[in-house]
Symmetry: C2
């Protein structure tokens, strides 16, 4: 009933918004994988905030520790390639918000059997292949949503890196934050973000992730309506 009410009301009523969230896992062998540190908290909070404004939300999530919010369509994936396929399958959308921490690289020589440690044998060498760039792909897609928002987790030169990323990817906004271990933001309850658009940089105060999500959802609603 709460969900029906949300869908029936709010500035995003009738809008379809795609949100990606969580990390991706890239297999090395059947028991090992490469992961990104991402709890999925910010993406989960954003999906909930968009739902609360009346949007129909498709939530494409990697293996996150935070459970997905109720009242959204959940599509679970593991790898970056799985995530791109799920995102393309969910189009068309009015907006797409890419909060997931997607692996830039996958292991090119992933093994079908568990790699064994053997005395006298050399250590394994992992060769990488570049993963598809989901944000850039959707920003130039034939079915590009009207608003495309990327996230940038940086550890140095946050604003400059994020502005360059916005231009390079072809998206509309970048939400950038500093995830240096000292900030405690990775896996923590708060976030301090910068909203970077074509011609502006907004520095938001450090806020609970749910409040960052509510503000961002309001901005998205303002842009779409």
């Amino acid at each position: 009933a709460a969900i029906d009410a949300a869908l029936a009301e709010g500035p995003l009523k009738g809008r379809h918004i795609l949100v990606t969230s969580g990390p991706t896992h890239e297999p090395i062998d059947p028991v090992r994988y490469i992961a990104n540190r991402s709890s999925g908290q910010q993406g989960t909070a954003l999906a909930a905030a968009l739902r609360d404004l009346g949007a129909r939300v498709s939530f494409v999530t990697g293996p996150a520790t935070t459970p997905p919010p109720p009242g959204v369509a959940v599509i679970r994936v593991e790898s970056a390639r799985d995530m791109l396929a799920a995102v393309e399958a969910a189009l068309p959308a009015d907006a797409a918000i890419f909060t997931a921490a997607v692996a830039d690289w996958r292991v090119a020589n992933a093994a079908g059997q568990k790699m064994k440690k053997q005395a006298g044998k050399p250590l394994p060498v992992l060769e990488f292949a570049e993963n598809p760039d989901i944000l850039a792909t959707i920003s130039r897609h034939a079915q590009r949503p009207g608003l495309v928002v990327g996230f940038a987790a940086e550890t140095e030169n946050v604003i400059e890196h994020a502005q360059a990323k916005r231009a390079r990817k072809g998206c509309d906004w970048i939400v950038a934050n500093d995830v240096s271990p000292a900030t405690g933001i990775m896996g923590g309850a708060e976030n301090a973000v910068h909203l970077i658009t074509e011609d502006s940089v907004e520095d938001w105060p450090r806020l609970p992730k749910a409040e960052v999500a509510r503000r961002l959802a309001q901005r998205i609603a303002k842009d779409l309506t």
Copy 2:
């Protein structure tokens, strides 16, 4: 009160048992790491079963999705090197059960800053270094517990690999299982194990992980008393 009662009763009263559990995470850079697939379910169930028989349990756990059981001393670690240090600090013990899925290798060239994807730049190459072998180290330790039990997650030739592992590591028993994806054991609620001792192989039926834990705890109690 339930914990006091457990500590006061049972065949393992007055015994100190060390249990390792979960995966380890080996950093690549501040936002990426290599992980093993391990939910920590079997180790958590075993720690609870040993506690229920009256043991004082030290539970050294990597970042597992299963929360640690109540009534045990929890020591949280990330990497294999952290885990070895925590295990050595917890000695002496009457028995040590190594259920953790410890990374064989760590990244030798881990980066202090996030590795960036840059057009025209070659992909990164990960160089590995061998991690300390916790099971072998404790099996030959000056403070070696009277009973040392390893786990072996295999995807082929399960019994042979586990027997060879027992001899190579110098431990007393190996609990071996087949974690091929088709078995559904990794991350699942059940386990089908083989208990390998110096002169025997027992094939246990497929059972809930809590029941595997209870049987193994009983065997440990029988051995120690």
